[in-house]
Symmetry: D3
Subunit: 249 residues, 6 copies
């Protein structure tokens, strides 16, 4: 099966890292298709940037639709996930979502550990949106900034381990999610240095997406993710406007 890894950030280095980490857990026969946002910011970290990335995600999925079996919203805050589920009939999984759902099978409380302070408010909102606040022990990030988004997981490796250990000791975390596309693959590296299970967002998302393709659920025609009625629009990217207007071929 083919799974689109739709990265709403503009950094192709991050996309590469996501695909590399995802392949480590993908089933034989699963192909991960990379896609990087043509507009936006190098890495989404705030609600403002997520708003921009959410609109971009819908454009990206509309543009490539028909070429894959399932899509992953490949930024931890799941920008555009709800809208994507309304518009499209293929399965869509968010990285934050998949990480939290998998974490629920590994502990009672998970911590989310990431690389930049600026991410905390946005991540807190996505935890809430998924109804997972009751199972979230803490969201923690380093106090100091980092040098390069492409290398942040190496630069901050020990700091992130220390933060993870702190969530286990002080916040009651039973499992730690390493959050944010730039940390993809880190869980494999540091697995033996944290005494609880680690969850990698892209890896969790790949297994959830594969599972959904196998389960093959029908598209809802009632309820929250039924497709909206056709609507005119003005000035939107062509493929997205076609989807909104029910003019897809």
């Amino acid at each position: 099966m083919k799974i689109l890894v739709a990265n709403p950030n503009t950094s192709t280095g991050v996309t590469d890292r996501l695909v590399t980490a995802g392949k480590l857990v993908a089933s034989p026969g699963t192909e991960l298709l990379p896609m990087t946002a043509p507009r936006g910011v190098p890495y989404i970290a705030t609600r403002a940037e997520a708003a921009i990335g959410s609109a971009m995600m819908l454009e990206m999925l509309a543009e490539r639709r028909g070429t894959f079996d399932a899509a992953i919203v490949a930024a931890f805050g799941d920008p555009g996930l709800g809208g994507a589920r309304e518009l499209f009939d293929f399965p869509v999984v968010g990285m934050a979502e998949a990480a939290m759902l998998v974490a629920c099978t590994l502990g009672r409380k998970f911590a989310i550990v990431s690389f930049a302070k600026a991410l905390e408010p946005w991540f807190a909102e996505i935890v809430d949106w998924h109804g997972m606040s009751g199972r979230c022990a803490a969201i923690r990030t380093p106090d100091e900034g980092f040098r390069s988004i492409d290398d942040v997981q190496h630069e901050k490796e020990q700091v992130l381990i220390d933060i993870a250990l702190g969530t286990v000791k002080n916040d009651g975390a039973d499992v730690v999610i390493l959050a944010g596309a730039p940390l993809a693959g880190l869980a494999n590296t540091i697995r033996d240095r944290v005494p609880v299970p680690l969850v990698d967002g892209i890896q969790a998302a790949v297994t959830m997406a594969e599972g959904l393709v196998r389960l093959n659920p029908r598209k809802a025609t009632q309820g929250t993710y039924r497709r909206p009625a056709a609507k005119d629009s003005k000035g939107l990217a062509g493929p997205l406007a076609d989807i909104i207007g029910h003019r897809e071929s």
Copy 2:
């Protein structure tokens, strides 16, 4: 003082209606500045459309910044509100937010009544986002569709009254919010036909925005709405890219 009424929908008729209704409660000396989205859909009704409208809202506020004292996100689901509070230093109020906050002073539980079934999932999410689910008795809309967004409040007047009465009788609503920009002003018309207070979103927002201008709170430099650090971007509208990059004049 000057308050920007930023309508993320593309229909200028709705913008006119918002300003007209808002003026009925504005203080002497308050000027309401209308602004209509240049791109998007005629009226936002879904999460997908709200994602597009959220990005547009940030563009709109960036474009006009410096010409007003406070801004109203003039669509009921408050698209872009969180991001706007991060990026800008003027007060921003959402119509859903203002309506719910005012409703809290008029009853223990409010109902949200609007004109289209498609709005319900989006509205449910914005109620949650504001942490107001515990005070929301119900979100109710007509079963049947409507003919024209510009005239929906007259076409559906009796239906909306009946729904409002139902929320009082069956859902325990103590106050009813008439939600959605196309219903602006309706509360004044039907006030005597519903036995509980009615709240009009734009009118609530105008009073809250005026209050915030008078209270003159400082811009946070810590906490959830501190301004994000400067960041490069690619392909965004100029004024918004300038704000994100800390290049505003």
Copy 3:
């Protein structure tokens, strides 16, 4: 318009302070009418004292009714607010309520900072009563007592700033409410020394009360704040007994 500032404490010094602080944000044309409780304690700090103050608040509002457009329950725990909304047809706003509602527009989480340890349990209950616990980061007060209620805001100025800074750093507060009538006006003084917005209860209440007068909501005849049926009573203050007995002129 005329707004009654009904202080259920017996200290007129506090009433003066409230009116002075309120005037700083009142609209041109708004008059603040001071009223001080004739019986009770100098400042309400506990549930027992609030019970006494709640009954007194109803007496006070009954006595002055007809001479103002809206009333403010001018003690932070909003004693008597629910009962007042049942009995009377003018808008009534609580200081705790108004402060929290305004704070919701300035951050995701607010802290409540006040001057006496004894206030904490009562304040915690009023936060709950308003359904705002999900947005309250912390309630914090100084460990040591104070010398004089009339001067506590000067005596404790630096201590209160330090506590406010602590709620931002340790509790995740995005906005700080300076709570309690004796702290009225302090927000203006220390505004630049705390990195998040400050909310002053009386000032928030004045803007909310003005807004409600402009919005002019109808009195409910259904729902939680409908007026109770006429009832006999024994031994109550005359004007309050008249209101309860539906004998008002």
Copy 4:
């Protein structure tokens, strides 16, 4: 042991009924001491009346203190309970509280059935105050009024049974609380006509009060119910002013 049954309503007929019902479950050697409010309303039904009754309850307990081992706040909404626990060192139990705590041992969800529509908002608040909303299936009362408070349990007997049956069938109630002092004793009468356990407020309160006397917990000197520091007051009833001022003999 001696248990004060402090009825904050002014109707002695209701007090008699409470004592009669309570005696049916009291242990040998337990004496129930009746006390009726000298001022107030015949039966408290609203938040306004509860505010008045709360202050009265504190007066009543202060006046009789020293003559009993534990006290029951003998109105279903527990007026003055929190304040009483601050001021006094004897155990105090509320009728609503005791009924809900006992109901928790008999089912997962309880319904509260009472005799007057006006009681619902007040009862809803006391359920919340006790943190019991998660276990409350419904609060239900008759649509029509009643003739006499002294006889309401006979007049409405069949109506109350029908409402109780409805809460079991439609609301998922596993146990039904018959709420309100005027319904004291009704549970014994109709026990076989409802298929789930019934809880009588005064009877639950008597068993809880007896248990507390036997457990003999110490008075807190820390935490929410520690005694407030001595404070001056103005115009309060003598015994209550003495307690507040730490001048009790």
Copy 5:
């Protein structure tokens, strides 16, 4: 009346301690009947052990039914409580449940203090199961292990006092529950060294059980604790199989 103290642990020393502590608060005329689990572990501390103990509890109650008026599930996590309420028609009370319900009358928030770190996850789940998480300030235990289950309350006396003091100071506990059968009776010993009320599980359970016997509620034939229909089983202990199969004499 006769109350069965059913200890699902295999240690008779703990059973003796429970009965001794319970007698201190039992009414004249109440007899406590001891029973110790014939199979299982010396003291239940984890979910796995509680699963084993839950099944055992049902066997124990089935075996002795008919010889007592009420039963106490005499381990703090209440193993088997829900199932027991389904199967049997006598009142059953859990030690955790009774302790928490009594604690609700003594403070707004209780802490649970126990003797072994391993107990925390299980206790957290039982607090949730009872819907009491909103009133639980903290669950705290010593970091270090203990020597003997029979003597742990003496060995750890000072440590437990220090933990209790910490919950009052740091977690906002208003009342402290000393949890776990091996701590039975400790509350009486250390009562004056903790500034808030202490609750002993077995003592709370004895008073609640006595109260339920006096209240004499009917067995539900509807709702969550109605008796399940007769069912065949394979390989279960005889008396329990008889109860499940409706073959009891």
Copy 6:
């Protein structure tokens, strides 16, 4: 990989049905190993039966450990799941858990539809235990009983469809879980007759278990599912006693 399908019910017909349904979605190379409880009831429906089944589940997993890569607790209420995660180092997934987690990716609210009224209280508790109550729209079952557990999915097919349609229309369900081992495979049959996605518990569990094996999380040595210290026991099945005593070979 090998996945144990551990059915805590004694009916082998149900085990067969589970394996057949699971194979429809298993990856190539995945083998499902059936196991049926040697003692207990034909199908677990109540808390009492779940208590028995929980202890049995631990015995079953202990007996077969070492012969599979992951285990599925193959009864919808997940009996023994928490304890299994403590004791063992292989991944364990519950059918209720897996169904709910998958449902979260397909809608905002799921309904649980099953075949017997008696299941409702138990299912409600497992939803709570997983922290999923906020996403559960309703739990619904037929009013009438059924003839045979092996054939109930055919006998009740239309009734179950009607109930599912009702949850979409009346309860706001966006996705429907067909719950209970005896309904395994039904989702495939009726998929086109319900307008929202259906989730089959065993199929969801198979995909989740496969994903966990691929993700290969480490066993926790800290947190809620760390392995308990070795402990003696009395009278337990040998393999389980060995695991509890840390005597496994």
